[in-house]
Symmetry: C2
Subunit: 463 residues, 2 copies
């Protein structure tokens, strides 16, 4: 993800005074911890936002983290825990007793609390839930019954609701009196009989309307009702598509059970982004904070798949070992054809996978796009064929080698355009996530076709 | 990006009735357009959200688009234009006359309007601005003076502000009377002398407070004041970091000039995501809707860089042509070493680039992480060395080839761990975006080291 770290230094200065967990701050806290000056640590940490404290904390090693927790102790903002990286959070939570954890959980919003509870193992979860008053416990247990990554896990259970026959004035009076509302909310939901949402009023509109006006007159009625079991990726899609600030969540019979706000969706979008980046890089999850052994094991499986495809490509080369023995230039040049095919294919693939995800690439225009990509591959294939053909000709003083290389380059770049679109389209049709599986299939294709076309043509023409 | 297209079919059904631009809808509109039944088209399109209409529109070919515009015509929601893909939007805008465009621009929020104006060429821009009333024009011109991708381009110029000596009641009365406010807003800003923001009150808090309470008593004072020239990536960082719903934008003297809301930031996050994905795939921009020639040219430069690095790797192979001539198995096996190094390196690189962007990888922990990655590379190197060494031994019935391959594998995977972290760290230090440049440097390193270690060791040991 691009952010201030990628920017030239004058732009990074933009954040001066706006972001708390700076390098200077980390160094200051380290120095104070090393001196054992806990008072100085507390003074440095006190003015920090919980998100900045979490960032700082992640920078420290285990020993320093323990010392910091000891010095800040009970003063810690519960929000701190919801900002922490999951791996680091597990470490911290292990050190807390059930009672401390129960206090933290009850002070958090439902969605943040559930996010914390769901990571505990079954036993700790049961113990923690026992330590929470029955009413809150029922809410948590109810939410935990929905699958992970569902809308229910994102929602806050506290919602501002009013009946449709109220006026603006009644609504405002009720808001002023009632304590059981979320800290901040953007929309008020109007509910009908059996608590079904029938409309929504942005808070700013309520504020700007005269007291006698009935709520039903100013409410929006085209609500996007989110089923509690909906996958969070679809929730994010709806928020993005319609620019929503919040949306009501309903259970199976259609009753309002909670509300999702856009800040929760930003987190989901970040998670999706993370998944996409990682799967492109051949990883299942971010292992930055994981131990060496765990990281090694997690990366092993992808490397094993890669080994299999590499062996396949080698077997293709093995078919032509007699040709290589006679014309060793073939061994020197063959990786170029494979590499150019792989890169051109990856370009096409990247555009196609994105377009699939954004619903831009559909059955309606698939053939047009495949045609376009083959054409693009063909044109660049011809340009690079001429360029590399000439280089090979002069390098090995043999125009036939140049010609064979040029032909193989065109074939492989045409193939790259074709496979770069057909592979993700096919995987999508087969209900396999094209973001994860496309790259490995594609590079296998461009490697095999690259070696096969170059060595095969060479065997026909040169020998 | 992962969304409903990646999901199994039962999850995709989640969106039934919630998303308008479905395949069935596209087919319906196409059929009606083909029949020339413009009334049927209008009936289908009328209930659609502007965002869905934009999606549908993108699916159609030029002819169908023209027919659709003709049939919907003046009824079109101006928001439609802000949802359209840029390339497609340019096409549509070309068909509008200046007056029509001026009407659209004035009905949009400032940020969406500026987004549309900034894409026009200088001449059309000047003409359009002349067609807009002087007051609006001054606002647009002022915003356009700030650089592209700056906070100013994201902000809405209409802000709900009150002086600090007002009460809640006065504020509500003012909100009810004054028409020059944004359609929806989440925070009211409290301004001091010379219009400097000194506090913010979430609208829901205002609503819940009794009328006589002074605004200054309920306002938050730790504002994140965003300089108008701040890069949009830093703006997105602050919104994510502190979970902001809106933030005030100030000019150089510190006066409030606008407000950025979280929905604009979601768009920025999407853009960043797009940039990251595309640069990983060797692309500068999304060319899905671009013409063949433009696409071909845009991809050419990246392929040229790749060609240069591929030739470099080939030259390394060329150093050992005598060895390959004698033992052709070397040519067969050498791509495996390079490929495994490239993949292991990419895994490390992906984690490192992400961690840099999230400010998790910093000078404070860089050496620890480099050490960890070398260790991970070393362990996987040993495992794959044993595996592949045995395979090569039996394949070519030569245990020395297996041994050489095993050693080269360990060297290259150690190198992959080292280069996978050092390359992005170094680029970052040199103020070069590691997301864009790291991959090409890394694969050059793993190719060169892979070929050099395998062929070099083989030359020493086998010949």
């Amino acid at each position: 993800m691009a952010d201030s770290q990628d920017l030239p230094v004058e732009e990074r200065d933009d954040l001066e005074g706006l972001y708390g967990a700076t390098d200077t701050m980390v160094r200051g806290i380290r120095a104070a911890l090393a001196e054992g000056n806990l008072e100085a640590v507390a003074d440095l940490v006190k003015p920090l936002h919980a998100a900045d404290l979490a960032d700082l904390f992640e920078q420290l090693n285990s020993e320093e983290r323990n010392a910091l927790v000891a010095s800040v102790g009970a003063d810690i903002d519960p929000e701190f825990f919801s900002y922490l990286d999951e791996t680091v959070r597990e470490e911290v939570i292990d050190d807390l007793d059930t009672e401390q954890l129960a206090t933290v959980v009850q002070e958090l919003d439902t969605d943040d609390a559930v996010d914390l509870i769901e990571d505990l193992d079954k036993e700790d979860q049961a113990e923690l839930l026992q330590a929470i008053p029955a009413e809150d416990r029922a809410l948590f247990e109810d939410t935990l019954r929905y699958p992970e990554e569902s809308a229910a896990r994102l929602m806050n259970r506290e919602v501002a609701t009013v009946p449709s026959y109220w006026s603006v004035g009644q609504t405002i009076d009720y808001m002023r009196s009632d304590a059981d509302l979320p800290t901040t909310f953007y929309d008020i939901y109007v509910v009908g009989p059996s608590y079904r949402p029938i409309g929504a009023v942005p808070v700013s509109r309520l504020l700007r309307t005269d007291r006698p006006v009935p709520i039903s007159e100013i409410m929006d009625t085209d609500l996007k009702l989110i089923p509690a079991a909906m996958d969070q990726e679809n929730v994010a899609f709806l928020f993005r598509q319609y620019g929503l600030a919040s949306a009501p969540v309903v259970d199976d019979p259609g009753r309002l059970v909670g509300v999702i706000t856009v800040d929760d969706v930003v987190t989901v979008i970040e998670e999706e982004h993370e998944e996409d980046m990682l799967s492109l890089g051949g990883l299942r999850e971010d292992d930055f904070y994981e131990a060496v052994i765990y990281t090694t094991r997690a990366r092993f499986s992808w490397l094993l798949v890669n080994l299999a495809t590499a062996i396949l490509a080698s077997m293709v080369i093995g078919l032509f070992d007699a040709s290589i023995e006679k014309v060793v230039a073939l061994a020197v040049l063959m990786p170029i054809v494979a590499s150019m095919g792989g890169n051109a294919g990856t370009q096409t693939l990247t555009v196609a996978v994105r377009a699939l995800a954004l619903k831009e690439l559909t059955p309606a225009n698939a053939m047009r796009i495949v045609g376009k990509e083959i054409l693009v591959g063909g044109i660049n294939g011809i340009v690079f064929a001429i360029l590399m053909g000439l280089i090979a000709w002069f390098w090995f003083d043999n125009w036939l080698i140049g010609l064979v290389l040029a032909c193989a380059m065109i074939i492989n770049l045409l193939m790259a355009g074709f496979a770069g679109t057909i592979v993700p389209l096919t995987l999508d049709r087969l209900k396999i996530d094209p973001a994860i599986a496309s790259a490995v299939v594609l590079t296998t294709v461009t490697d095999v076709i690259g070696f096969l076309s170059f060595l095969g043509l060479a065997t026909l023409v040169l020998l």
